[in-house]
């Protein structure tokens, strides 16, 4: 066990618990070490939910501020990363709920490339489900726009389940829902996403039919 005295912290060697203890005793340097250790993780969580850099930074600031004042409630031996993730996810979820209604997703929200890409993916002729390297950027943009149109609950569940790959039990612990509620919400979220994708496909098909009708030659 490494004996850490105030003012002689070795950040690479100190465990999370020892840094937490030092922070609670008033050592700000220990808390800053914790922030450096986990800020990328917290930023990554916030970036899953929001695109604007100012919002992402604000969420990260709020997360670490809340963590600072709630350090006494952290259980020694538990995962500090999970504890911080819980604060970050709840901040993101609260911010999503604070924002105004999403409106309907229409084809005009997407660029031509994005429309062609999704149309290609949704076409029954297309058997490839994998996203090719040159499509990744388009896929990223499309995903952001699709997620923007989901409810905060649906969006949160899909991101935690499929993007962050947490288990149902972990998600329940993160948001404070029961496992049953997480499963039901996941089912509804996938349904909502399917509806969005189908709607885009229908609109695109209608456009094509209209174009064919107007210009049969």
């Amino acid at each position: 066990m490494i004996n850490i005295r105030p003012g002689t912290i070795q950040p690479a060697e100190a465990s999370d618990d020892s840094l937490v203890e030092l922070s609670l005793s008033g050592n700000d340097e220990a808390f800053e070490n914790l922030v450096h250790r986990y800020k990328r993780r917290v930023f990554a969580i916030a970036k899953h939910f929001f695109r604007q850099p100012e919002t992402v930074e604000d969420i990260a600031q709020e997360t670490f501020t809340k963590a600072y004042f709630a350090l006494h409630s952290y259980q020694r031996g538990a995962s500090l990363e999970y504890w911080l993730a819980r604060i970050a996810v709840n901040n993101c979820y609260d911010e999503l709920r604070r924002r105004k209604s999403r409106g309907e997703l229409t084809v005009s929200d997407l660029t031509d490339d994005e429309v062609n890409w999704i149309d290609n993916k949704l076409s029954r002729i297309s058997v490839s489900r994998h996203i090719q390297n040159n499509d990744r950027e388009t896929a990223f943009e499309v995903t952001h726009k699709l997620l923007d149109k989901l409810s905060p609950e649906d969006r949160t569940i899909l991101l935690l389940l499929h993007a962050e790959e947490y288990t149902v039990a972990e998600i329940a612990g993160l948001i404070g829902w029961s496992e049953a509620k997480v499963k039901i919400r996941a089912f509804r979220a996938r349904h909502a996403m399917r509806k969005l994708l189908k709607k885009l496909q229908l609109v695109e098909q209608r456009k094509e039919r209209t174009a064919t009708a107007c210009y049969p030659g």
Partner: protein
């Protein structure tokens, strides 16, 4: 069957979109905001100030509440004493009147002149 397949395709597309989305974010090596730590320190200091003001307000309010409760209790106790005294006087007066009434032999109501005056002995005989 076609509809189920299509549903399955949409689900797989959703999974792949989200995996790609997450990979892109995790792989993002954009440097973090340079002034993040200094802003964080300032934010924490601000929150500490607010919580100190709030605590001071709560403690002051607690003291005032305690003082007001004491005053209210004193008023209540005083009112009880006064009420007690009034009740004692009232019962005393009622008691005196009862004695006066029982001493009178004739019970005569000034409005009832025709009726024969009642006599206590009449009741006793019965």
């Amino acid at each position: 069957m076609k509809d189920n397949l299509h549903k399955s395709d949409l689900d797989h597309l959703t999974f792949n979109l989200l995996h790609n989305f997450s990979d892109r974010i995790r792989g993002d090596q954009t440097p973090l905001p340079p002034y993040f730590m200094s802003r964080l320190r300032a934010r924490i200091a601000q929150e500490q100030q607010i919580s100190q003001v709030w605590e001071f307000g709560v403690i002051s309010a607690k003291n005032w509440l305690f003082a007001l409760s004491l005053v209210a209790l004193m008023f209540f106790a005083g009112n009880l004493l006064v009420l007690n005294t009034h009740l004692k006087i009232l019962f005393y007066n009622i008691g005196k009147q009862s004695i006066n009434i029982s001493d009178e032999r004739d019970i005569v109501h000034p409005d009832v002149e025709d009726v024969e005056a009642l006599n206590v002995d009449d009741f006793q005989k019965e």
